[in-house]
Amino acid sequence: MEKIKQNPIVKKIGINRIVLCGVLVLMYAIFSMLSDKFVGVQRIMSALNYAYFLGFLSLGVTFVIATGGIDFSIGPVMFCSALISGYCLTSYGVPLAASLLISVLVGFLFGVFNGYFVAYWTVPPFIISMASMNIAKGLASVFTKTQSVSWPQSADANGWYRSFVKAGNFPVGLVILLVFAVICSIVLNQTKAGRYILSLGSNKEAVRLSGVNVKKWEMLAYIICGILVGIAAIFYVAAYTTVQPGYGDTYNNEAIAGCVMGGTSMAGGLASISGTIIGVFIIALLQEGILALGFSKDYQLIITGIIVIVAVYADVVTRRRKN
């Protein structure tokens, strides 16, 4: 085992991510064996649909968790974005392109809101994101008069946005998600913003005493998260078209699960974008597998709950061992 860990290639990719990839393949194999319905392109495309919006949520929350914070508003904010922009599109006749921008804008504003209170007012992220979760749900309901919103179908005049997810059988969404993942990884690892976000997650006071404006960079992490949540909303409607007000909280857990499973530490300071992406694929495959095996979504809730606990526990144990 030690030998494998010291192998330069393994070291570079990280043992954690290799294990996760193994889990992904194993899960696919098990689901395929248990259910003959599972094999085939259809299932994979369906799992991918789930992975796209969840992937953007997870990428976003990775930045927040890197600062040592947490955001429980991402799911409901995504729905709020999709509902407000969709309502603008369908009821106010706002052009599609503008509606998509509104979606990102709503996410951005929630990011500013969360980030401002966390960074400048030092409200605990847990509290402020719980509050904005409720605000997002309420706001969406008020705006849409508690009606669900149906975005246009592929065949409709305004249906082109759906090709963000797939064109024919080509998974466009996968390409876009991976491109964004690469961008996020560059931001996190090769820019000043990423350096400060990770550093302040590890030791905020030391970074402040280095003469760095920590408040600005901490707020930025929430803003990046908000923007990615706004984009997640677009991929949600592109995959499923219909959104209902009052939901979205279950995606918080799944996005955070993907993130921590991938090796991002809940204590802050350590984050892995590639890990997050693999984590998201595992969650998406899991949800698809559970449905294919004929279980209800409730089982998925239980399993993701357990995944979060196991992943966080593993993080705590490795941390302890290092000390």
Binding site: R195, N203, A206, N213, G269
Partner: protein, 497 residues
């Protein structure tokens, strides 16, 4: 001294990649104070952790009261009668003294906790130790020194036969240390075996009977304290002679320009009307007892804590410093007394920590220029002689002295001309200490101006060109090194007490 109560023989312990203990021998007699010395990383703590069951030894034997023992956790060691008094106190501030002492084994009356009985028992304990503390007092109201005495009382209450003191004096004032020694002598009288870990050479001479020295995980030797000199011990620890003479006169010309002037600085209770000047190329020592307000003064100047009033001039120009960003822009760097909390980002590499304060010089377009960053960090690793396998090493893996050098590099790379060193050698071993001293002298010669806060008198007398003494938030003295002596400074530091 009585018979041997504890023997550790041929103790061997390896961690992946490190041979932490290499056949170490150690023994303690009844009624003896036995010093365990060595540089940081020499293996003292590891040896004590093996003894108290935190680590399992690979080989060797531990004999306690004639029987071979092996403890699996501190609880087992405690029950057998071996107790550690840690450097960091493990007290709960909101509980009373008695509640702290009997935590985990409270006296009960039915299901209720019997505070009265606990107070009585604690009082008996204090009486035995000749300590004057009210058992019903809330812990957080006590001074650090008193808290430590409670910790000792707690150890005694476990029927301890061997007590290990891990750097007990690090946070104590001179008077408190005296009191601590009184208690230790008392315990010696009562035939307990005492292990005393400390970096302070003076204390070793005063309080211990024998000294065992470790180096690089190995056992170097055991001396009888009365028969050896300070230099003998230091030579065994580092294998080289260290010069420790005080400075006799200031190296700064009288007409050197004033780079920093602080006037009537006020910040809370701990900084009251502090004024002073710092000259170019000067090392200005800040002396005083624990809690004199020196760190608070430094933090107020640096903008780390808000100040209520006062003016700061840099090179004759008045500046507004409201936060550390302003201070860094003015060319001030602050090296904190607590580097783990305020100095380094442990999960980041040497290079990343080194450039933390001057990122903008390492950004090309949107991206960090990592090759430039590594190159500059490497230059400073070389020039400060930082011991690290490479600049990509995480600082958490470095020893205290080398972490300190990384923080110094951070400010040098930022090109700060005014450096505030707050207890720059705390928790650093003798060898590394000497290197930090040399480095500070070199920086001063190069024209940097240094404020050095230190609680060690020898350090103040050895390094400073001029000394400012503080007491209870006020400046109580200012003295040139040529006129300074330990007595004069101590007199100023205790003026108002």
């Amino acid at each position: 001294m009585g018979d041997v109560i504890l023997t550790m023989k041929d103790i061997d312990k390896s961690f992946p990649g490190v041979h932490a203990l290499d056949h170490v021998n150690f023994e303690v007699k009844r009624g003896e104070v036995h010093a365990l010395m060595g540089e940081n990383g020499a293996g003292k703590s590891t040896l004590m952790k093996v003894l108290t069951g935190i680590y399992t030894k690979d080989s060797g034997s531990i004999t306690f009261e004639g029987k071979e023992v092996e403890f699996h956790n501190t609880r087992e060691a405690q029950d057998a009668g071996i107790v550690i008094v840690h450097q960091e106190l493990n007290m709960l501030g909101h509980l009373t003294v008695a509640q702290n002492i009997f935590i985990g084994r409270e006296f009960k009356k039915g299901i209720r906790i019997d505070d009265k009985k606990m107070n009585e028992e604690a009082a008996k304990l204090f009486e035995k130790l000749h300590i004057d503390i009210d058992p019903a007092e809330t812990m957080s109201n006590l001074t650090v020194g008193k808290q430590q005495m409670c910790e000792i009382a707690k150890a005694i209450s476990h029927e301890a036969k061997v007590i290990i003191f891990d750097e007990p004096s690090a946070a104590l004032t001179e008077a408190e240390i005296e009191e601590l020694f009184k208690i230790i002598r008392d315990l010696r009288q009562q035939q307990l075996g005492i292990v005393y870990i400390s970096h302070r050479m003076d204390e070793i001479k005063v309080i211990t009977d024998r000294v065992t020295v470790m180096r690089d995980g190995g056992y170097v030797g055991t001396l009888i304290t009365d028969e050896c000199t300070k230099d003998d011990i230091i030579n065994m620890m580092v294998g080289r002679v260290i010069y420790e003479d005080p400075k006799t006169e200031s190296a700064v010309p009288k007409d050197a320009p004033v780079v920093l002037k602080v006037e009537h600085l006020n910040a809370g209770k701990m900084v009251q009307d502090v004024s002073f000047e710092l000259r170019k190329g000067e090392i200005l020592g800040f002396s005083g007892l624990m809690g004199a307000g020196r760190t608070e003064t430094a933090r107020a100047i640096f903008g780390a804590d808000p100040k209520t009033s006062g003016d700061i001039y840099i090179d004759g120009k008045k500046v507004e410093i409201n936060n550390p960003q302003d201070a860094v822009k003015c060319g001030i760097g602050y090296l904190s007394e607590d580097r783990k909390r305020f100095g380094i980002v442990v999960q980041k590499s040497v290079a990343e920590n080194s450039t933390m304060a001057s990122m903008e010089n390492f950004v090309k377009g949107l991206f960090i220029n990592k090759s430039k960053e590594n190159k500059v960090a490497q230059e400073y690793v070389d020039s400060l002689a930082t011991k690290t396998p490479g600049v990509d090493q995480l600082v958490v893996n470095l020893s205290g002295g080398n972490q300190q050098k990384v923080v110094i590099a951070k400010w040098l790379i930022r090109n700060c001309d005014i450096l505030i060193f707050d207890e720059p050698t705390r928790g650093i071993d003798v060898g590394a200490k000497n290197e930090i001293y040399k480095l500070m002298n070199r920086l001063a010669e190069e024209g940097k101006s240094i404020i050095m806060i230190s609680s060690e008198m020898t350090e103040i007398l050895r390094m400073s060109d001029r000394i400012i003494v503080m007491c209870e938030g006020r400046k109580t003295g200012e003295i040139d090194i040529s006129e300074a002596s330990q007595e004069i400074i101590m007199n100023m530091a205790t003026r108002e007490i």
